[in-house]
């Protein structure tokens, strides 16, 4: 039999549908404790059930979150739940790790808006693989792909985008300068 904390650590979708081995619904355990802690519940208000679950999570998982948060660099905003497509899994502050946060940000850097706290170098961590590309490798990519790799870079044409990338990543400019100098050296 699962403890209340173990049930509350599950995603809301699982709490709503899940059943223990003895046939008792997870939801029944959560709502019974809710009634003890906060008084009566609205039995005819199904739209409020998820609110009850979230309130219980806030009450019972806060201590655990605070312990985790001491070492965590990425802290999700209160109430944020990130579902993982095609699975019943989801991440909230109760189960997310820095590594998972970085993976999510690699998928979409715009997700930084979901975090209450994050290290200032989060972008380097999240897109470091892309920045290690050489300017030659970037130039042969389509404009759409370049925009995906460098989402913060604007520009209408490929030339404008490449120029903006060089401005944002001067380390790539160095390589360009070396390449432009080399032919003249060959001529000498």
């Amino acid at each position: 039999m699962l403890s209340l904390i173990e049930i509350l650590e599950k995603p809301n979708s699982e709490i709503l549908k899940g059943v223990e081995e003895n046939g008792k619904r997870y939801l029944a355990t959560v709502l019974a404790q809710y009634q003890k802690d906060f008084g009566s519940i609205c039995a005819s208000c199904p739209s409020k059930v998820e609110g009850y679950i979230n309130k219980m999570k806030r009450k019972y998982l806060t201590e655990k979150i605070e312990v985790m948060a001491v070492d965590q660099k990425f802290i999700l905003k209160n109430g944020v739940v990130i579902p993982i497509h095609g699975t019943s899994m989801s991440y909230s502050q109760s189960n997310i790790t820095d590594e998972i946060a970085i993976e999510i940000l690699k998928g979409n850097p715009n997700a930084i808006g979901l975090f209450e706290k994050y290290p200032s170098d989060w972008k380097v961590k999240a897109i470091s693989e892309q920045v290690s590309l050489t300017i030659e490798e970037i130039e042969v990519l389509s404009l759409a792909t370049i925009r995906k790799i460098f989402p913060g870079i604007s520009g209408k044409t490929k030339e404008q985008v490449l120029s903006a990338i060089l401005e944002a990543h001067p380390e790539l400019r160095k390589q360009v300068e070396i390449e432009t100098i080399e032919p003249s050296l060959k001529e000498i």
């Binding site: 709503l16 609205c42 005819s44 208000c45 199904p46 739209s47 059930v49 998820e50 609110g51 979230n54 905003k77 109430g79 944020v80 739940v81 990130i82 579902p83 497509h85 999510i104 998928g107 979409n108 850097p109 715009n110 997700a111 808006g113 979901l114 209450e116 925009r147 995906k148 460098f150 989402p151 604007s154 520009g155 209408k156 404008q160 985008v161 903006a164």
Partner: protein
């Protein structure tokens, strides 16, 4: 889970609060398909967007109007298969150059757009400032009209929910952790052309 069909709370008048009509003169357009719906966050009631997240590299675009434009509308639609909401927005294209014509030409080709509006009615503490139209299906361009003898010759663009694609809820409130955070989030999403 059965849907709630009963009234379960009061409608209370707020003290020292006067509702207001009208929008601020800038609205924001997102290509609906470019919103990261998996990462974006809605409240349990689905009537509030708390995090508006675009897909990697995608931006939202602002449209500046004047006077009473842009404007927004929402109305209940009762259909055979349930109730829905029709959202609509109107804007005037004040300068209609080649770039603007190109954008309109692209938009009318069956595009779907989610619109963020900034209302003059901000609620009691800024909580009603921003609202989202067309979060689910997006609005399509229903008309583009120009009359040289009317409206100072500007182009009027109308967007609305397509019939049969009605939204599941009324327009959604958009509020991040605070009004300032919402304004900053919008500013970070807006497309800035290269100088």
């Amino acid at each position: 889970m059965a849907c709630e069909k009963n009234i379960t709370d009061n409608f209370i008048r707020k003290c020292a609060y006067k509702p207001k009509s009208g929008l601020e003169n800038t609205l924001y357009l997102a290509n609906t398909k470019e919103i990261d719906k998996a990462l974006s966050q809605l409240s349990t009631s689905k009537l509030m967007v708390t995090d508006f997240i675009m897909v990697t590299g995608k931006k939202i675009y602002k449209a500046e109007g004047a006077g009473k434009f842009p404007s927004g509308k929402s109305e209940l639609v009762k259909g055979d298969n349930g109730v829905g909401w029709k959202h609509a927005a109107s804007l005037r294209i004040l300068y209609y150059g080649e770039d603007e014509r190109e954008q309109i030409q692209q938009m009318v080709e069956d595009g779907r757009f989610t619109v963020i509006i900034e209302k003059k009615d901000t609620g009691t503490a800024g909580e009603l400032t921003y609202e989202v139209l067309g979060w689910e299906s997006g609005l399509s361009v229903t008309s583009v009209t120009w009359d040289s003898a009317a409206n100072d010759g500007v182009v009027l663009l109308e967007l609305a929910t397509e019939a049969g694609e009605e939204e599941g809820t009324d327009r959604k409130i958009y509020v991040d952790t605070s009004l300032a955070a919402t304004t900053a989030a919008i500013a970070a999403m807006v497309y800035t052309p290269a100088p």
